[in-house]
């Protein structure tokens, strides 16, 4: 199981702070980024990968922005923050949090979504340890080869290399190539004398 991440948009400080304190009570969930205005949203959804978007319903006022969000995320990732009892036009969202909901109700909704996500996540049964194939890729990264070079060497596409790299980073919690090199040496995937610096 992997931590659940949220991006939060609401123009109201009180609402953001409230949701943050509720999400803090969940196990292994956190808000990776937050926005209080429309202008900030494109940047957030461009750079950060996230499991769920918590969106104030006034987002619907910006048709273009919301279209962009729907292009990037599936319906099951969108959660509406609504302050009215009239939730007719919120069919684009997987879940609706009402401002009148109790803390327990909100936690129940969020935990349910987070639980569903984890069921999907673990379905292909990805082990926390890296696979044999990933170890091969890791070895090449640690030796200092670029994505393109690795692809050529192992007869796979650059896209595949990138996907493996993302999985390696997620499993190990190490993002940079020099960091991965140290991991590879500690775990004897490569020898210290094989590295470029030597």
């Amino acid at each position: 199981m992997r931590a659940t991440s949220f991006i939060l948009y609401s123009p109201s400080y009180i609402i953001r702070k409230g949701l943050i304190s509720i999400i803090d009570k969940m196990h292994d969930a956190h808000i990776t980024n937050q926005a209080d205005s429309f202008e900030e949203i494109p940047e957030l959804i461009e750079t950060k990968e996230t499991d769920f978007l918590l969106l104030d319903t006034n987002i619907l006022k910006s048709t273009n922005l919301f279209k962009e969000i729907k292009n990037k995320y599936g319906k099951n990732q969108l959660i509406a923050i609504s302050n009215s009892s009239n939730n007719q036009n919120l069919s684009d969202f997987a879940e609706i949090i009402n401002l009148t909901d109790s803390q327990a109700e909100i936690l129940k909704k969020l935990n349910q979504l987070s639980g569903n996500k984890n069921k999907l996540d673990t379905a292909p049964n990805i082990p926390d340890e890296i696979s044999k194939r990933e170890a091969d890729i890791l070895k090449e990264i640690a030796l200092g080869y670029s994505n393109k070079e690795i692809a050529d060497k192992l007869f796979i596409s650059v896209h595949t290399v990138v996907t493996h790299r993302k999985n390696i980073t997620r499993k190990l919690g190490i993002k940079t190539a020099p960091g991965l090199t140290i991991y590879a040496i500690i775990n004897k995937i490569i020898d210290i004398n094989d590295t470029e610096a030597n």
Partner: protein
């Protein structure tokens, strides 16, 4: 808790001792007696409103009054940012370096790995230096020129020429994530380094890395969310005013 100017300076430290390093950047050092934040700032010639917002944002990562912070002068903002750079290079980085050196010196069984760690941090140090140097030599001077031109009655063509060669959006795209390698270093030590001989040293190192990472986050946030939008707005106005002539 959000600090206000009537709170005693000593209480600020009691509440969160990490603020000491921020105070130092404003030239404020220990020995406050019973003076309030306002009194201390007056004595040290520090803009108390700016000081409070910077301090509050530093303490509470959810409190970030970016609109208010954008109202302060570019001079004030970049001076604080430069002081923060100096703190990294003169205080934090040497502290971490000496801890790593101590670890290397005191260990015999996994010296090779620790030397790798040391080399990794060395590269990071250089990267951080390049990052901050670029900001101090190119970016901050540019923002100051923009502010100066903005405050002048007549827009000079020289600033328009300057804006043709550089812009704050260029900075925005070239401004890289300087925290990434620190994150890796932390994880390598927490998860993968074979059990250290000297646990105490290792714990201190982790603590220092967390402190530096958090400080860098706070710093980059001021650059990205205060300085960048503020300058972008000024650039826009300068262009508009110039077009009217």
């Amino acid at each position: 808790m959000i600090l206000t100017k009537n709170i005693k300076m000593a209480d600020v430290i009691h509440m969160n001792y990490h603020t000491l390093s921020v105070l130092n950047r404003f030239g404020i050092v220990l020995g406050f007696g019973d003076k309030t934040i306002e009194e201390t700032c007056k004595e040290k010639n520090v803009d108390v409103n700016f000081f409070l917002e910077i301090l509050n944002a530093f303490i509470d990562k959810d409190y970030f009054p970016k609109k208010h912070l954008q109202t302060f002068s570019v001079g004030l903002i970049t001076e604080y940012l430069s002081k923060t750079h100096a703190f990294y290079h003169q205080v934090k980085v040497p502290e971490i370096e000496s801890l790593i050196n101590e670890m290397v010196d005191s260990c015999y069984t996994q010296k090779d790995t620790l030397i790798l760690l040391k080399r990794f941090f060395n590269d990071y140090k250089q990267e951080l230096l390049n990052h901050t140097q670029r900001e101090e030599e190119v970016v901050y001077p540019y923002t100051l020129s923009i502010e100066k031109a903005f405050n002048q009655e007549k827009i000079d063509t020289s600033i328009i020429e300057l804006m043709e060669t550089y812009s704050i959006d260029i900075f925005k795209t070239e401004h890289d994530d300087i925290e990434e390698k620190l994150y890796d270093l932390k994880n390598i030590i927490i998860k993968y380094l074979p059990q250290p001989k000297d646990v105490r040293l290792c714990n201190r190192l982790i603590q220092e890395l967390f402190i530096l990472e958090q400080d860098l986050n706070d710093h980059s946030r001021i650059e990205d969310k205060v300085l960048v939008p503020k300058i972008r707005e000024m650039e826009k106005m300068i262009h508009q005013r110039f077009a009217k002539y």
